[in-house]
């Protein structure tokens, strides 16, 4: 929760800065610089993902069936998000990309702002922050009333870090382990899925 505060503060600071800066300062040059910073960040994210190879090997030991958990979460998220294009003047691609953040608001908003536009980046930021906040409320409810496994769903990619403690508290060790692996897989998918969806026509 401390993290989410810092992150919202960073975006608010940026908004204030963007408001005050004269528009000629925000040039294509700046945009290009940010793209290279983004590339550097993704290089680092990639190293972490590649390094997780060892942890991903554990999936074989637990059983490949466990992959159904992140697959269901990803599929359900995208299917749910796609319905939003019926209500708003947004293309299917746009709503899918926002849904494809799976709660990872920092990475999804940064990627979408740079690769698409600031408006969708802002929506992605807010939507994925909302998703994490909803997860904090829904995890205890689902764990008590529906089932331990189902309680993993709302957290999406965050079940490997920020929402893992609450899952561990509300369920058991086996469920927490499945939640971690599911979050790890979704976290691995997001940086690939968002650019791929955006690259589609």
């Amino acid at each position: 929760m401390k993290m989410i505060g810092c992150i919202v503060a960073a975006v608010l600071a940026g908004i204030a800065l963007g408001w005050m800066l004269p528009s000629f300062m925000i040039t294509e040059v700046l945009d290009k610089v940010v793209t290279y910073i983004l590339a550097a960040m993704l290089f680092g994210v990639g190293i972490s993902i590649g390094h997780n190879r060892r942890e991903l090997m554990k999936i074989k030991e637990i059983g490949l069936r466990i992959l159904l958990v992140p697959l269901a979460i990803a599929g359900g998220s995208l299917l749910g998000a796609s319905l939003a294009s019926l209500f708003f003047a947004m293309s299917l691609k746009e709503v899918l990309v926002v849904g494809a953040g799976f709660g990872w608001y920092s990475l999804s908003s940064v990627l979408i702002t740079q690769l698409y536009n600031a408006e969708l980046g802002a929506i992605a930021f807010l939507a994925n922050v909302f998703r994490e906040l909803m997860a904090f409320v829904l995890i205890p409810f689902l764990a008590i009333h529906i089932g331990k496994i189902v309680a993993i769903a709302p957290g999406g990619a965050t079940t490997m870090d920020s929402t893992l403690p609450i899952i561990a508290k509300m369920t058991d060790t086996s469920t927490a382990m499945i939640a971690f692996v599911s979050g790890l897989i979704l976290t691995t998918i997001v940086p690939f899925l968002i650019p791929l969806l955006l690259a589609m026509g």
């Binding site: 940026g14 995208l78 929506i123 086996s174 940086p191 650019p195």
Partner: protein, 99 residues
């Protein structure tokens, strides 16, 4: 777009190789986090410098809320369906008993 995907893939390959020592990953995550903060400020600048966006922030918030709710509910229903067909925890218990 290409630069971004290429650097992600290059990072994955480097990370999967044995060149990266365990101890470095902690530092790396911290550096990545710092870059993320810089980029989040850039996200903010993108919003703040766009008057039209600022004026429509409540509309954007509403859209974000609906997409978040739909994707969260979608993921819950999908996992509920899968979990009703396939008991992930029961098999764990059997394994533990076998041990």
């Amino acid at each position: 777009m290409e630069v971004v995907i290429m650097s992600l893939l290059a990072g994955c390959l480097l990370g999967a190789s044995n060149l990266i020592k365990e101890a470095w990953v902690g530092y790396l995550d911290r550096i990545v986090m710092m870059i993320v903060f810089i980029l989040l400020i850039a996200v903010g600048i993108g919003i703040g410098s766009n008057q039209e966006l600022i004026a429509n922030l409540t509309v954007l918030g509403w859209k974000a809320m609906v997409i978040a709710a739909l994707s969260t509910v979608g993921s819950i229903l999908a996992l509920w369906l899968v979990a009703s067909k396939c008991d992930f925890l029961e098999s764990d218990k059997i394994k533990e008993e076998e041990l």
